[in-house]
Symmetry: C2
Subunit: 719 residues, 2 copies
């Protein structure tokens, strides 16, 4: 996979600075080979192509919304030019894995979050909380993150390059497979024009033919690459002699590298802590209060939207693997004895999903099944209704914000791949130019988190439920005369007590008999005397007792849908981007066909010219749009109307209003739709009402075209 | 000032745990004296009263919205019980200065942010960005935060207690003044019932009479307590022999304690970094891109909403001083040569503000002036229109979300108090039970930040503006024959060149004459030979030249309104809270009269009883409210309607809909307003339309009472 890092730097003032920064950039992503190319675009920019030696996105056949081949370079240039997002601290050389969102990216993100909140939190009365990112060590020690939240890292002993072990194995095997294809004379797409690069590349991918059996082995390894642990990855590196192409040496055996950012809290640095790697823990710790807030009702869900932090070993691929990111997470708490039924499952059971299960992947395949979620749960492919309900709701959410339906699949995690807390997990993956990307995880965390925190702190993270009728249980019970125990057994008293209390029901039944018959029992207490201790009947009683229980106490299980908003946002951009050809031979113009509901700006308002006659109309239209809660921007620059519209097509603005000389005469305005570029003309209020119904989704453009008169007058000018 | 930390912990299961945690809590806030009280409320709770020895909030006469004395203990209990916010990690003993927002707090926060975004970002077309909190060291070194973003900390050498030096001085002087009052027989309110506490207190505040002159000195020091630096605070401690009451010893001299949380970024911990202490730096670093996005137009503003982090020495007073908090910041970039005029200033010039200026404070006074912002700018009290415009807009924002107009003042910073980057600053302060609290800062950061970052990185953080007509300048210019310089002067060449280029215009005029007359000049170059160097006319020319300049380049100044959302949220709660007396002698019931626009939930829907006949009406009403974008909750519990309403009065829910048996007959429903408890009755659609106009602010309850028939039927039941 190749990562592009473009450093915008007007050549004159920055010049040497950027080259100085190269060293810093290398530190950040030391496993990449650097090639510096200079482009003569205006304004002049330097472009660093960070080329790691894995599969090349240019060679993948990702298509745009209209089925054309995606020009990733053009898309990246557009996203940068229009400031959707940009590397953070770029004038300081940047820090890999950190990005800032500019105005359109920020608005797109806010709108996705707004839809998310309505689709999940409001629709299902979830309890939203906002917890701190700073987290003390003890919490994350208990949750297992301090010990287990790590990736496998290995290092080139010669030049110090650092790799994520699974990425390294994947990269080398893929390059060998590619070399094999070349050697067999099969077509391997090559699009490089830089001879230096070609040379490096061919060094990494010597065109060596492999045995058919080896090819099959490699392919099977790649299909389950996520399923290897560190030791296994180390074995693969040795077995297949995988070497760093830059130095020709094997890296060190993989070591666990914890992904949390550490810090310390307080004036004397007295509380070690971390930045949270997920928002979930805050929700678990508040469980008892949330249950109370919900007046004890079960099941219920909490939700949280906030930043999380992971110190990735080698961040790459833009927004897809970053160190600080926005998450939206739901923790749905459910009674495990309810078989995880869900009372609204029937509403979604016919929703069709594309599924890639665990067994298929373990057999080295990637064949998917398309089926209704109802059937998938019935067949046991998806474990239970609650998990199935959320998979379907996730699918509907992604559909609502405009994700391409043909580029979603749900992939089940394999055993080694799962997070330490999960007992089952399905990812919603979206297809992008970087392959299938995990954008939403839907894990069954069972009772893991609540149990470990309750055990550690003694807090009652349980549900206490009144039973419809008391449950009567009978069992052997031990009663110890503590006052007499001490004087007789002295320091061993406690050990003997513990041994008695730990005795199984079966054993107790035997001991009761023994006690009755002999007036004493002999029990095993390792470490006390010879390991056998005699206890007489005046020191204890063992009796068969009946107990009536009115309440049931249980630790809820948790189903956790967890959304990576940045990944969803980036995938959505790729899915909705396309280019409109021009007849005049100009450059193809980009269009971002995001649905109105998430579009950064809903309406562009353009007066035909800068004449002052338009001013009162502009004010009135803007004011009315604002009152209707519709975000709009005015473009009163001197560019042609066509140019102004096309600038906003790139930003995803779905509608455009033009004020022309007819407006001054009769108060009518035109309304243009982004994707079709067709227009209607009507009075101001009718147009604004039309926009409102388009934005809230109650009408489509086809409806509006039927209702309002078509307008063709400006067509030539708009083109 | 006293901080309350209440640890909710059902007594039975946690018992000893909480007491164990006491040690941890002490570590966090070691300057507090702990008193443990046990209350017998149900469910049983333990309450830790953290009593530091400063002014007691109970003794302040903060009033509620209705003018009654604020019962802070009851309010805190309500906020905790209804989960507005809660100490983070409480089951682990908590970490001071970290709080989580529960569902109502989270919704209130989201609504305040929503109003903020509309009032500032959308209204003024600001460019919103979302930058990372992780920030590399170099950025904050340049901005001055690494060296200067610190508070003064001192330590008790005997027991290790850590104090914020200004808080320490303030506390001791205030307690002495109180002792003086007691000694003079003046009334000092005492509301303590705990004899142990009284004892400790009286130890700290021995009733010693002070000289009148000393009283005056203390009072003047307290009035400008924010104006002392570390050295001065140290001198005060020595001069007045200020001792820690817990040990009777003087603390160490104040040392600077940097407030940033450190971390390191990357797999080999290779990039030292911090969590940002403000969102501003990300906006400054993106200045060139934002200017470009704005197609070069000036002035413009960027804005950002996000978390910031400050490692406070001794966090206290709940949400008012925390270590992780939500900020909303605006950076308004303006041409310094425009005299910081603002084109919309006329829209706000009549807005009246309460001002407390720098001079008044330095003279030891706190007398405020109420005046129109137009007048304040005219009088030079507020430096310029842009600063004045934002002060007025801040005031209007606070008014819109429901802050009490009589509890706002704008206080100007004194010189030593200002942040290192500011050249002027006014705080919007809100009056709470903890005194006047800085909730919004409005600083003029001049060109400080852009200049230092540009200097460090070489990035052109400037505006380049075409001049209407070229500016012609004439001046002496030096031209050096570099090729000849080297061979003649060898290693001294560079020093001589630099000396020539650094020569003033006046000197150059003399040298030109000398050159013409003697064919050579003699110049001073310290460190070269005897400090005099001869340069002949074949090596240089000095000429009077004319230059025409078409562009002007300047570094913009920045006006920065910066909002602490948590502080605003807490102050708003205090300002809108009141209690409704009851006739039956029950406990007074809390009401939170927040405006509908920020209320966590807009409508409570209550069916008269649990009978199934209401189900279809409930579904329909909920669906219609959701379509209208109005958040609602159903309460179909078995509690009385009055109880259900009063539970939601506490949560600030402004409207209530009741479905009763009449509803089943004729489809009419009742609508109740929170503050007046008066009700109207009408058909469903009319009631929903009424709610919509109340929520969007187009109508008041008085309007609705005139439009829809009054309903008194349930009155008895609701009371």
């Amino acid at each position: 996979m190749r990562a592009f890092l473009q450093i915008v730097s007007p050549l004159s003032p920055l010049g040497g600075k950027v080259f100085q920064n190269l060293r810093q950039v290398r530190q950040v992503a030391p496993n990449n080979i650097y090639l510096v190319q200079r482009f003569t675009t205006s304004p002049p920019r330097l472009r660093f192509v960070l080329n790691s030696f894995t599969k090349d996105p240019l060679e993948m056949t990702t298509t745009t919304l209209k089925g054309d081949l995606l020009d990733k370079v053009a898309l990246d240039a557009m996203l940068r030019r229009r400031m959707f997002y940009t590397p953070s601290f770029e004038i300081y050389g940047g820090v890999s894995g950190l990005y800032d969102y500019g105005p359109p990216g920020c608005a797109l993100q806010a709108n996705i979050i707004d839809v998310w909140r309505k689709h999940f939190v409001l629709e299902e009365d979830m309890l939203e909380v906002d917890c701190t990112a700073l987290t003390p060590h003890d919490v994350l020690k208990t949750s297992g993150h301090v010990d287990k939240f790590a990736d496998w890292m290995c290092k080139d002993p010669k030049n110090g390059d650092i790799f994520r072990a699974d990425h390294f194995v994947e990269a080398i095997l893929e390059s060998r497979l590619k070399g094999d294809k070349e050697a067999r004379g099969q077509k391997v797409e090559e699009k490089e024009e830089d001879p230096k690069k070609k040379k490096k590349k061919s060094k990494a991918q010597a065109a060596v033919k492999l045995d058919d059996a080896v090819v099959k082995e490699y392919e099977e390894i790649l299909a389950r690459i996520d399923n290897y642990n560190g030791e296994e990855l180390g074995e693969l590196i040795k077995k297949y002699d995988l070497r760093n192409p830059a130095t020709g040496v094997q890296p060190t055996p993989p070591m666990a590298f914890n992904l949390m950012f550490g810090t310390s809290i307080g004036p004397s640095s007295n509380i070690p802590g971390y930045l949270r790697p997920e928002t979930a823990q805050g929700q678990f710790l508040n469980f008892a209060k949330l249950l109370d807030f919900n007046t004890g009702g079960m099941p219920f869900a909490s939700a949280s939207i906030g930043k999380a932090y992971r110190n990735e070993i080698s961040p790459r691929a833009g927004l897809l693997r970053v160190r600080e990111f926005l998450m939206a997470e739901i923790e749905h708490f459910v009674d495990p004895e309810s078989h995880k039924k869900h009372h609204r499952f029937h509403e979604v059971e016919d929703v069709e999903l594309v599924l890639l299960d665990r067994h298929t992947q373990l057999s080295g395949q990637t064949t998917v099944k398309k089926m209704a979620i109802g059937q998938a749960v019935k067949d046991g492919l998806v474990d239970n209704e609650t998990l199935g309900y959320f998979l379907a709701r996730i699918h509907l959410f992604l559909k609502k914000i405009g994700v391409d339906q043909s580029k979603i699949r749900f992939r089940q995690h394999m055993a080694n791949e799962m997070a330490h807390y999960a007992c089952d997990c399905w990812d919603a993956e979206l297809l992008t130019s970087s392959g299938w990307i995990e954008c939403v995880g839907c894990a069954d965390r069972s009772a893991y988190d609540l149990s470990v925190h309750a055990k550690k702190t003694g807090a009652p993270l349980v549900v206490r439920e009144a039973l419809a009728e008391p449950k009567v249980t009978e069992q052997w019970e031990v009663e110890i005369e503590k006052k007499k125990f001490g004087p007789i057994y002295k320091k061993d008293g406690k050990a003997i007590e513990d041994a008695l209390l730990a005795t199984s029901q079966e054993e107790l039944s035997k001991l009761a008999k023994e006690l009755q018959e002999n007036g004493k029992v002999v029990i095993d207490v390792p470490g006390v005397g010879d390991g056998k201790v005699e206890v007489s009947k005046d020191l204890l009683a063992i009796e068969w007792r009946k107990r009536s229980v009115n309440h049931r106490e249980y630790t809820p299980n948790v189903i956790e849908p967890s959304f990576g908003i940045g990944r969803i946002l980036y995938s959505l951009i790729e899915h909705t981007y396309w280019t409109r050809g021009t007849e005049g031979g100009d450059e193809a113009r980009g269009v971002l066909s995001v649905p109105p509901i998430v579009a950064p700006t809903k309406v562009l308002v353009v007066p035909l010219s800068k004449t002052k006659d338009f001013a009162p109309f502009l004010r009135k239209v803007s004011q009315k749009l604002r009152s209707a809660g519709i975000s709009s921007r005015i473009d009163d620059s001197t560019a042609s109307i066509g140019k102004r519209y096309s600038r906003n097509d790139e930003l995803g603005t779905p509608f455009g209003i033009t004020l022309d000389f007819q407006t001054i005469k009769d108060g009518t305005i035109t309304l243009r739709e982004r994707d079709s570029t067709s227009q209607v003309r009507a009075e101001e209020d009718k147009v604004i009402a039309a926009i409102q119904s388009l934005v809230d989704g109650s009408k489509t453009w086809t409806d509006i075209e039927k209702e309002l008169p078509k307008f063709e007058g400006q067509e030539l000018e708009v083109r």
